[in-house]
């Protein structure tokens, strides 16, 4: 503690965020800023997914659907109805939330848990992708191009810097949400559900309600990133925004860092992103490059699950304390 009466960890965190926020003022390289925005985008997805898997133990492989819905809703509202993406962003988020509540409720109603929950969400994600793939109103497989122009009130910027700050804000907000959930009764309830749903119910945890809540919060946040994607990359198509690749991003990053911990997803995805960048410098063709990246993801994911189920955070703690205790809640291996 200090004069401001804040814990040191919080101060370090705020300082780190400030330093990261100042980067665009110093670095003017578009390429470098784009890389950082990409990394933060991945981190954001991981942090949001960690709420669902890390804390509540719900293995969702359908979160990319919320990303896609966010991207398409704001874009369609803007192009066809001239509604600013700033508003469309929240329209999409609400739509995603409704779908997440629906899916989770169906799973509760028919007592679908664990592995089968994963299958249902996977099917949901694929269904959404195929729906948009064959829906002419949203230009089906052709996708939608947005035109770059200078219109801040419509979420368009000529410069990378505003995008950078928006993405950083999203990441900080997602971490704040995780932090408050972890500290509250809700967090304890989610962990109880992850550990043993029957035991949790028996001591008064309304498991179905809390599963619905956490899915809703996560879907809402992921959906915001969808709108960001559309406004930043200016091209959306079912094969990119609805791609299962983003679901894999979430899993790899979260598990690599340590599921069920506050900073696990941040560390995990940063590690992967660095790794990815380093691979880019290898003297190989770009096509085999993509294949190598995918293969490495797969191999690393397997290695983590088998040897370090607590991820990098768990590993670090192990070295530091000689045993594994992570924030009073060490993570769980996937089902």
């Amino acid at each position: 503690m200090n004069r401001l009466n804040l814990p040191w960890n919080t101060i370090y965190f705020i300082l780190a965020v400030l330093v990261i926020a100042l980067v665009p003022l110093v670095v003017k390289s578009e390429y470098f800023l784009t890389v950082l925005i990409n990394v933060m985008f991945g981190i954001y997805l991981c942090v949001c997914w960690n709420l669902v898997f890390g804390y509540a133990g719900l293995f969702s492989i359908g979160h990319q659907a919320f990303l896609g819905i966010g991207a398409y809703t704001s874009t369609i509202l803007y192009l066809n109805f001239q509604i600013s993406p700033w508003i469309g962003m929240f329209a999409g988020a609400i739509l995603s939330t409704i779908l997440a509540v629906f899916i989770t409720f169906i799973c509760y109603r028919y007592r679908i848990r664990g592995f089968f929950f994963a299958i249902v969400t996977l099917a949901f994600g694929m269904l959404m992708q195929n729906l948009f793939m064959s829906w002419d109103y949203v230009h089906a497989a052709v996708g939608i191009w947005l035109v770059l122009r200078n219109a801040p009130w419509d979420f368009y910027f000529m410069d990378r810097t505003p995008y950078y700050w928006i993405m950083l804000t999203l990441v900080v907000l997602s971490l704040a949400v995780s932090y408050f959930i972890e500290r509250s009764r809700t967090g304890s309830y989610l962990i109880a559900i992850r550990e043993d749903e029957d035991a949790a119910e028996a001591v008064g945890v309304p498991s179905s309600r809390y599963k619905v809540i956490v899915m809703a919060v996560s879907a809402f946040m992921i959906s915001l990133a969808g709108t960001f994607y559309a406004q930043f990359y200016l091209y959306i198509q079912p094969d990119n925004v609805f791609s299962i690749h983003s679901a894999i991003t979430m899993q790899v990053g979260t598990m690599m860092g340590g599921a069920g911990t506050l900073f696990g997803p941040v560390i995990g995805w940063t590690f992967f992103a660095l790794f990815d960048e380093m691979l880019r410098w290898l003297p190989i063709g770009s096509l085999s490059m993509a294949a190598i990246t995918r293969i490495t993801y797969g191999v690393m994911l397997m290695l983590i699950i088998v040897f370090f189920p607590t991820g990098l955070i768990g590993l670090g703690e192990k070295f530091r304390m000689g045993r594994v205790v992570v924030l009073g809640s060490s993570p769980k291996t996937p089902p």
């Binding site: 500290r183 509250s184 009764r185 304890s188 309830y189 962990i191 109880a192 550990e195 043993d196 029957d198 035991a199 949790a200 119910e201 028996a202 001591v203 008064g204 945890v205 309304p206 498991s207 179905s208 069920g260 205790v325 009073g328 809640s329 060490s330 993570p331 769980k332």
Partner: protein, 243 residues
């Protein structure tokens, strides 16, 4: 009004009548023992009462309210909590946080839950294991953790499913002492137990189940002499040993 009343409770699994027309009452502050051979339907009765599975027929009233349509967490909110025979600790969190999750049943506030958890750990002699992960506890510690977590919810009726199974005599004595100190707080206890010496001493009344039906009910001494019970469960040796 009795604290809990089961009326003509039945549960069928296909053609098997796991529980058949079971009726019993439990008064406030009473310790009721439930005994019977393996497969007699004792744990099924617990699963029905705690809302884990719906009964095929019959009614369960707790404090005068019908609870058969409620979810387990709603039943717990009303003051009826159960422990599991096969202990279910939350393995990856500390013992203290395990108990806090139970305590959240009566309070929203984290600091209050923390205090309740500390008191419950003290009651169940687990203070020394406060920061140990649930999965690293020994069997007797897990049994006591089940109890601490259930107590933390602030129950009026406690359902204990074989809390003494797998314990050595010294640990059984410890647990009996804990149970008596809890009971002095005025809550009702329904206990399934195969450790007869313990359950006979602890209970005010005993219900005997066999093939899902109640075959006897009464004071421990009467039960020990009941020929039907001797035939179904106790066996001749127990009577000889007692006399």
């Amino acid at each position: 009004m009795p604290l809990m009343e089961l009326r003509a409770l039945s549960k069928n699994f296909g053609g098997l009548k796991a529980v058949h027309m079971l009726s019993l009452t439990l008064e406030t502050g009473e310790i009721l023992g439930m005994i019977g051979p393996n497969g007699a339907g004792k744990t099924t009765v617990f699963n029905l009462i705690s809302g884990l599975m719906p009964p095929s027929e019959g009614s369960i009233r707790f404090k005068g309210e019908e609870i058969i349509h409620l979810q387990p967490n709603q039943i717990c909110k009303r003051g009826l909590v159960r422990t599991f025979q096969i202990t279910k600790p939350f393995g990856n969190i500390t013992t203290h946080r395990n108990v806090m999750i139970g305590a959240f049943n009566r309070t929203k506030r984290v600091s209050e839950a923390r205090d309740i958890a500390d008191r419950m750990l003290e009651t169940t002699l687990l203070s020394g294991k406060r920061n140990v992960l649930g999965r690293n506890l020994s069997v007797p510690e897990r049994k006591r953790l089940e109890l601490a977590r259930a107590l933390a919810t602030g129950p009026e009726l406690l359902l204990l499913d074989e809390p003494m199974a797998g314990l050595i005599p010294k640990e059984i004595d410890e647990l009996l002492e804990i149970l008596l100190s809890i009971w002095k707080g005025g809550m009702g206890i329904l206990i399934i137990e195969h450790v007869l010496q313990a359950v006979m001493n602890l209970s005010h009344r005993i219900v005997v189940l066999d093939y899902g039906e109640k075959i006897a009910e009464g004071k421990p001494a009467e039960i020990a002499r009941n020929p039907k019970v001797i035939e179904a469960y106790l066996g001749e040796e127990y009577v000889l040993a007692k006399s």
